[in-house]
Symmetry: D4
Subunit: 248 residues, 8 copies
């Protein structure tokens, strides 16, 4: 609640430069924009340094376009996650200037935030089937202004593949490790590096993989210190946290 701003405003009231009614209004002025039924949190760019990101999956193109326009109107870039190509086309038909990447299922308008953070984010994935989640993480991390390196198909059943990338892993300021099935890769990676590891379980696997629950349970029961986890298939969330870490 920005004590300083309140203090300054109150001083203005005292000096008679600001009417009490107006001060009340300002205090009540809410830092969001009504967009249809949504409250777009435009204040977030100030409060958290990252503009609100639009989760596309459950929204139709009209809803997405409405939010994108509100965000652009507030002078902020817009980023939409989990949007399929046809929906992205429909949005771009309504709002000009958009870019779409099919692998990461990202749609964006406007420039990425400036600056590249302290170091590099390394996105490691266990199997080729984990690619969509890893790609989302890589794409979001880049859109949020980070340098990113990517290592894929280095599951623990063939250690020599992973170990050949040890230097790459050690260079990173923070690592995102994406794995389904038994989810053992984050434990192994965390034992090789001195940086925090954000584990992303994926819904890859069948039977007792339980749609990613097994991988998640393993990641949270990891014998390796230095591992935290996000929700299943949540490449976006991992990239967001990694960005906060990388910014220092």
């Amino acid at each position: 609640m920005e004590r300083e701003r309140v203090q300054a405003m109150l001083e203005a009231v005292k000096r008679g430069e600001l009417q009490p009614e107006e001060a009340v209004e300002r205090l009540a002025a809410l830092p969001f924009v009504q967009a249809g039924r949504s409250h777009l949190d435009t204040h977030r760019a100030l409060r958290q340094g990252i503009p609100e990101v639009i989760f596309g999956a459950p929204k139709n193109p009209e809803q997405i376009a409405e939010l994108v326009e509100a965000q652009l109107a507030a002078g902020q870039p817009a980023l939409v996650t989990r949007i399929e190509s046809d929906a992205a086309e429909a949005v771009r038909a309504r709002v000009s200037g958009g870019h779409y990447d099919a692998a990461s299922r990202l749609l964006w308008f406007g420039d990425a935030p400036e600056g590249e953070g302290e170091g590099c984010i390394c996105v490691v994935s266990a199997g080729t089937s984990d690619a969509p989640v890893a790609d989302e993480a890589v794409g979001v991390a880049r859109r949020l202004g980070n340098r990113v390196e990517s290592v894929s198909d280095v599951g623990v059943a063939g250690l020599q593949r992973l170990l050949s990338y040890t230097e790459t892993l050690r260079r990173a300021r923070v690592l995102i490790v994406v794995a389904g099935m038994e989810g053992a890769l984050p434990s192994v990676v965390a034992g090789l590096v001195a940086a925090p590891v954000i584990a992303v379980p994926t819904s890859v696997g069948y039977g007792l993989s339980l749609g990613g629950v097994t991988a998640l349970l393993g990641m949270l029961s990891s014998c390796a210190a230095g591992v935290t986890a996000v929700n299943i298939d949540n490449g976006f969330g991992a990239a967001y946290v990694a960005t906060l870490i990388n910014r220092g």
Copy 2:
């Protein structure tokens, strides 16, 4: 049901050497011994090459002693698993000639079966807390006549420890890999060797380790081919299967 024996018996009936009533009796003669309320499966030594093993945990010393005596009376050695030292003492007070090992919680009477199997069973464990389960596996495998090697505290968070034992691992005819928490060790070991890996989840860990369920789920979702699993903490079961494998 041993077609040949039936045929021979029927020939004897035909020759009049055996009365039909007696033949019926013999067909009904059941290959087990009634011991109190239990049916001790003494036939098992013939059928499976391994005498029945007595699971001590839910039984009191009187019940155990009764079964041990029945087994010894049938001319077979007796092996009791999951028996604490005081119960073992109580049994030994009733039946002479017993030996007890506290680490593996095994009590036995009589000699181990002869022969050492094809090769060596290697019992690998992830952490020091997995020792009781690993010790049970080692002890049972030895009592069943196998050569056994043991590697402990080689969890995946410090790979260099495990990798330093690569040669030991590769020597084994079959491996028993014991791990709690995320249960990732069998996947990694299976990637290093050409022998079957029997994974034993342990109840080591807390919170989301779920008493061994997480380790088990991980082992069964393993990205490495060559892994099978037994029940949580079931060192005995793993050693039993390993023995069957090692015998050829």
Copy 3:
């Protein structure tokens, strides 16, 4: 890490026959082939005696063909599991010389490994609905060079069916027992034989069968020693382990 090869290489360095830089390179030379985004583990044929097997289900024909070609280029036969007939056709249109079997959903290129192992693998299944999983196990076991016998529709609710195959069961070096619903068949089979039993739960059943979880829980809680389990519907995994056992 093949101590001997390292020693030999170091001797060559000492003799001046090998430059240190080159030795470093060789140490770093990784035993896999980059195929698109994948790391094909061509070293596995040496390390484990069985070339890497390609899990077809989550891959498109292009990805599969790329991996098959890489494997053939490395002089190894290629085996693809869980591939439907139309995808198999698409792969065969790109890579010549393939064979496809619809029942086991297997596609392969090149000859099976020579040799037949010590004995016979017996694949037993409880109901006719378990056939796809049993067929995968039979097919994979044969492609990996084993002699295989198969017994089907011998569930425990009509014991006389199973008991009529007792001799077949006893002949096997290792048994794969496939069952859904309550998954009781492995317990019963393990009581009849002296060989290891690999239990494969299937997703057959409805309601409380829980997509195979009930069968798996039963198999891992088996009152019979000698049973281990693999993931639900994992006919491939069972055949792989059975091959390792059968090889001695």
Copy 4:
């Protein structure tokens, strides 16, 4: 609500032999007895042919004695289940004439109901650890007036034990099959007989036996028709249903 009795009562009202107010009272007269805070359902002996049975486990001796006295005062025999010997002694110190059986943990006052039902109830149990539950079933079935036969320690891992009792099993009008671990015994028994099988899962086992849940899931997923199940360790419930079946 006994249409005839209502009709008769209304006729009496019409004839002036019964005052309307009184008729209302009688309609409201509730067929239970207030015993402390409990409502003892004394009407049950009429309605269901079996007096209410007192579940002892969560009650203290005072509460039990109060209920027993109320039941005896209503002219009915009293049966208490799941009561330990010391609690039983405390009840018997307050109410005379009681009998206690430690194995089945039953306490009773007064005679069993007359008559023996149509046939025999056969209680089959898989392992010696299932004895307490089987004993409760046997004891309750006998106290409710049935002829009972009992077969124990005939788990499916040694089929010859079970098969030797085939005739006993086939003689029964209804079977209660008690098993923990994988709970496979009811499926096998149901395949051998032409009578209904009531499966009782027990909490015997460890790890993935999940305190009886695995056995229950298996019983309800049984491939054998003719099986129904009751709650874990619910020997009483099985005996109660078996009594209803046996009465015809």
Copy 5:
């Protein structure tokens, strides 16, 4: 194994009327018929008094027709459950003489077994959405030769509906109570009658109904004695057990 028949056969061997080889053959003669990959248990009609019933859901029309023909060839009527109308038509196009009922999804060939059992089976269902399961129970019970009464839409949230059928309920020899959601109806019904109640949970409901698991848990935790349960949606299984009970 029919001791008497064995004895008679052995007497014949003794009298020289039967050659030992032939006796061995007969002992080995298995009471089932091979139909494609299936073992049709034709012996069941003798052993259990009810011919094997064909579960249609996972089978294609060809498989079903093959089994039906085998069963008819063995002189037994054939009953197929869970078969949709188009599949039923396809079977009837191959095998003549079949009848199909869409509500119960039953297809049958030949007459129902004679006799009507001791009494009546009453099938009670909680809501209109439970109709398919209740209809299956009613249809199977009738095909197995029972008299059946049916009461529907009498859930516990409007007790007056259920209570108006009290007399119908009390007339039954055995009741099948079908309910989804919280599955409370069997508890209430069991409190009103003196006959066994077979509870059938249905997958009706949403959210925490968990596809029938909640109903099942409630039925097995019932505070009312006299309730047993079968698998979710298993109308067939309930009717089968009810038949065994009703036969006496």
Copy 6:
């Protein structure tokens, strides 16, 4: 059972104005109407002040129309929930006078009950994806005669949005709080108001949201007093209870 009506009826019997047989008939006359296989509880309007509401989801238009007609014939308004627009059209084609609202998926015939309750029901929802459930709650509450206010997209990750509605929240007699994912909103709202909070978990979210189970678990574990919960996505149930509360 309306003691007074029974007393009056019995007085009439006593006075000879009513024959006993007829009185029995009347006592048996059940307060529901048979509509096809359903028992429409027309008595409910008297007993609970709210006519029975028809759950449309599992019913076809014919069944719905039949129930609507029965209800209208009984002089009561009819309300159908969870009905899609095409099904609603089909019903309206059979029964005239209906109104349909697509957002809340409600179809109704006849007027809402009179009266507006004590105060206002406030429906608060966390995200835009929760709209269908919130809309159902709003629609049902209005059809049942309540004043309703609605606040949407005020999830806890941007508290300033929620706090700007504090006065609206505090005005309500009862609040319905709709949230998916972690379901934290009811806890926060309950801390801000002095009225009861009915929490409605939604199936919004993915991965560990577990289809609404996570939200429900959180709501029931709420650290805030004043929160109760209904089933997942059950906007109707919440509105129904809120109506009962609001009526006083």
Copy 7:
């Protein structure tokens, strides 16, 4: 945030009666009292009309006494729940004027709030084992100033017991229904009354009662409208919500 108070304060700043610094202080003045490590929410009595209630179970007597003293110092009565008699004695030894009730495990200091609410709260419980939870609900509801009626041991397996209290149930403004095992009682009660029903699952039962989870699932899947639920054994929470409802 009391817009009026802020406005008044700002007017005072404008008039020079209040220094800006002081206004900032006041805005920051937080409506709670620091008691050791706790923040006692003394503002709650104003905000919600009910002072904060102290959950005793996880706290030691020193912590409880500290909170009680802080609350009394703020001029509010103090109520402690889930406190055993010895801990209550220890608190009363430190703070004078307390009262303790063992059945409800409540300790309180000071008078209950005045006024009795609109009507009566009826607490209904299914079995005698549910008494501790029902007693907590009764006790808390009374301490919060409500009239309370109580009906116990009226489980659904003997409906006549419950139906004899129909008038009592219908008199209530709100009902709390406490049940373990299958938790069916709330559904039945809700069908009989026109008031909201708050269901409280209890951990009474064994096996598949799952410590109250089964009862809760049933309550939330209730086929009866008008039911909401609180956490397992949460008699306090139910009484708290009932108080909010009863206050109007």
Copy 8:
């Protein structure tokens, strides 16, 4: 594996300064110390910048002392977590120089690592019962050389408490948020700050809190970006990751 060191070593081999045998030895020299059955990973201080931390809970004082001595002998400080006071005393009786803190259950020998990291770690906890976990996080973070601030008892049911600490929260480089029950606090905190939030679920709560599982599920389903989670009650793990983040 330190390419440079290998290169240097190989150069020495080439120059004849190092014998090949010795080089092999060195390559094989493993960076850990054998302590009893454990492999103490002394190399970790180099590899990860933080010496290995000893998890005390499952170890006896002898095992702990052995590991502490090994670590001190390697010139590293030793930190033991989850150790009760009596065990700590026993260790200190064997190894001199130790310090123990009962609140955080930490025992340590030697100085904390130098340096304080980039900024401050803020540990926030929801309720007073979460104190043990929060204290562990605070203690470990301090022992690993961080500046730490702590805010406790600021659960979401009384938002004003949390909001009064907004500035403290915003100052942190990384936050650890500890909460049981519904686990909503991390979502709310993450919405207020621009730093990463590490959520620690605790086993505080009862019934549906499920021993911390509910809190964890909520944290991983958080609607707020910026949240990751560790295992239940894992204050150590959270502090460890926070340290890695804080170090830059």
